[in-house]
Symmetry: C2
Subunit: 479 residues, 2 copies
Amino acid sequence: MTLIEQLTVLLGAGAVLTAEDDVAGFTEDWRGRYRGPAACVVMPSSTAQVAAVVRLCVEHGVPVLPQGGNTSLCGGAVPGTDGVAPVIVNLARMRRVRTVDAANNSIEVEAGCVLAAVQEAAAAQGRLYPISLGAEGSCQIGGTIATNAGGTGVLRYGNTRDNVLGLEVVLPDGTVWDGLYTLRKNNTGLDLKHLFIGAEGTMGIVTAATLKLHPLPTSHAIAWVAPRSPAAALQLLGLFQSACGASLSAFEMIDANQLRIVTEQLPSRRNPLSALHPWHVLIELSDTGAEDALQTILEQVLTQAAEQDLLLDGVLATSGAQRAAMWEIRHSVSEANKKAGVGLTTDSAVPVSSVPAFIDRATAAVHAIVPGLPIVIVAHLGDGNVHFIPFFTYAEWEAVADPEAMAQRIRHSVNDVAHSLHGTFSAEHGVGRTLLNEMAHYKSPVELGLMRRMKQAIDPQNLFNPGRLVPDAPSAPAH
Amino acid sequence: MTLIEQLTVLLGAGAVLTAEDDVAGFTEDWRGRYRGPAACVVMPSSTAQVAAVVRLCVEHGVPVLPQGGNTSLCGGAVPGTDGVAPVIVNLARMRRVRTVDAANNSIEVEAGCVLAAVQEAAAAQGRLYPISLGAEGSCQIGGTIATNAGGTGVLRYGNTRDNVLGLEVVLPDGTVWDGLYTLRKNNTGLDLKHLFIGAEGTMGIVTAATLKLHPLPTSHAIAWVAPRSPAAALQLLGLFQSACGASLSAFEMIDANQLRIVTEQLPSRRNPLSALHPWHVLIELSDTGAEDALQTILEQVLTQAAEQDLLLDGVLATSGAQRAAMWEIRHSVSEANKKAGVGLTTDSAVPVSSVPAFIDRATAAVHAIVPGLPIVIVAHLGDGNVHFIPFFTYAEWEAVADPEAMAQRIRHSVNDVAHSLHGTFSAEHGVGRTLLNEMAHYKSPVELGLMRRMKQAIDPQNLFNPGRLVPDAPSAPAH
């Protein structure tokens, strides 16, 4: 029997997609930038089925491509155009919330659960699953684990990695590792889950996870302020961290260009302040106590900041509607930018203390390539994560002779600046296929060598999402 | 030249100890339970020296035993009595605080820094390094990383693993991995630091680390209460988590036997309550804001708990001296227990929700072996981590026919109960050599297999702390 026949016997015809129309949604990424052929798409319903699928693929020597909600920004979850066409293992049918243990602040879910469904199951028990990002209505929890997703809650709660207690993984040899621990402390050997978190499907298929929950914050206070400069914004961050500790839950900065694009492209969004200042910061405090107390601290710290001359202007949200409107601006940046033109998004992180230097130097580096090019900036400032976006109108972009080369050159110049400040070229989006060159360029041979040794130890046949995450070793020079 | 001669040329005679008197403090653990011979003890002063030492040991095929402050509870850091005597690499001379970046909330330190010195360097900049444990005055930061140390701050700040941003490691082949990142977000391939954290020196030598700092709490509120039962204590924990979120910084439970031992053995310690209730909980709130606010919340929640009939009694500390006295009881348990008799300490963790069931069942299991044996309990309740300590007087223990077998049988019965509740036999103390049998017994073959593959990939010659952490694979059956 062929592999597809065997898969059909195993899963039933409805769970093995081969017709071009049926697989089209799985073989192309959501932004339409990448596509490649697949042997088929399978939709298993259980961990045992995933394991059986993997064993068949191994027998046939066919690559396996784990896929969640297909919301990757780096082309990590759709097939390439070279090599053997993979079997795409889509986890959408494995979407059960297995258990919520409120007293233990933990939840066990299958990998195909949509992130928002996990948040809802937690909230139903008065708990918070704190990972929150634009794609939360469609990305799957397995994908967020495979990519160590970040988002707007990292400042307080950490990345996805920090919120995973345990995993169930089908390994590349088809065995199942049941590592579904729900413990806060467990010092019994290597903490194996970290081999799979952020591995982008190269080390096996995550089929289920146990996750940390937190008390659900019941009160919020939000302000929208205009700091004098990124350096002033950093001083403001320091004041909030000293005064509020862990109740500081967001500190998001955008520049004037970004705010202008949002308000122009989406007219229902309005600048909360009366002038378009150069920098804007959304500050959120969240806690489980009384709302008045948060509002008071927020006012106190902003008064202190004004006394230190850090602010040009600022306003506190006084209603839920105002709070929502402020967050809506922040959440609209991708949609607005897509309407406005071509943004060469980057995803740098640097030490928080180096953000002002990064912005200055990256701007200079880009302007050395295209003088005066507008820069759009969206920063998770509290994490040192800056989406620094050199921005072209569609008309300008069409006039560029070699757009691919221009995009690479500009992005690389930004990544160079981040690297020189001990930063990184991928803070939260991952590597996928887009950033393999940067991996080869910036990572030390020792570090790449360690990653290759791990891959070789877990997937010696190199069948799991081959050619992603870690670039192949340079070939030995010919004799 | 012999290895020792080569090491002496490399490091100078003062940094290579061979005389029996000189090495005695390094070849025996602090409790005097384990000792074994060493080829020598070397005390390198730099990462380059450590790397050169490793290369020499590899050349000679001599095992390498990394050693920090030698405060392991599991015999993980002193030589065994079989196999080739290792070179002990003691990091005490590498104790520089390299940099503190207050704005980035990070610190870079060498591995030999004593934990308390790291805390002090952070505090000098208004920051907190939150790992805190009994041995903090002598354990080294490298050792806390190699063992993923826990302690009393885990409830709020996580384990050591959660507070490491990056590492510098001399690998078993003598190359140096510079992974001293200071970033909050960095999704560029596998997060390699987790291969070394908690690896107990089996995967290389940590020579430096970058660590997360936190705002230094400036206000504290502490209460000492007597809940009706462990189940009532859990309900109380839930009330505090809902009301205080992240400002809950400790929730430590001891039983009447433990409190009695402390107050009897160390007469300066006094029971904060007027009666010896069956269970006692120390609750601490810490924050960066005003002390009054914390005290108010603490009172409110305790009032709520009293209304729900969860408490037999309770008292709030009203001065710094009272707070210190309450913590002193908690910190005196090891010293007092050592004076009082032989405690068969265990280090279980279970899901927080299962702690009451664990205590009941473990008590029954031990009493099935020794009817009526007193049990001493010290629990980091908020983490589900229970030190469940069956307790013999010295006289009783001397009457036990085969003490080694008795200790094993009793501990194993406790570990069985933890395992049946999806718990672990080592929450924070690690594995070392003491718990290798339990590793072999409780861990799945898949999990042990993955750990062995990692070890094989990083240390194929098995020279780094051999025979620790992961038990050898069972030999194949003879044909």
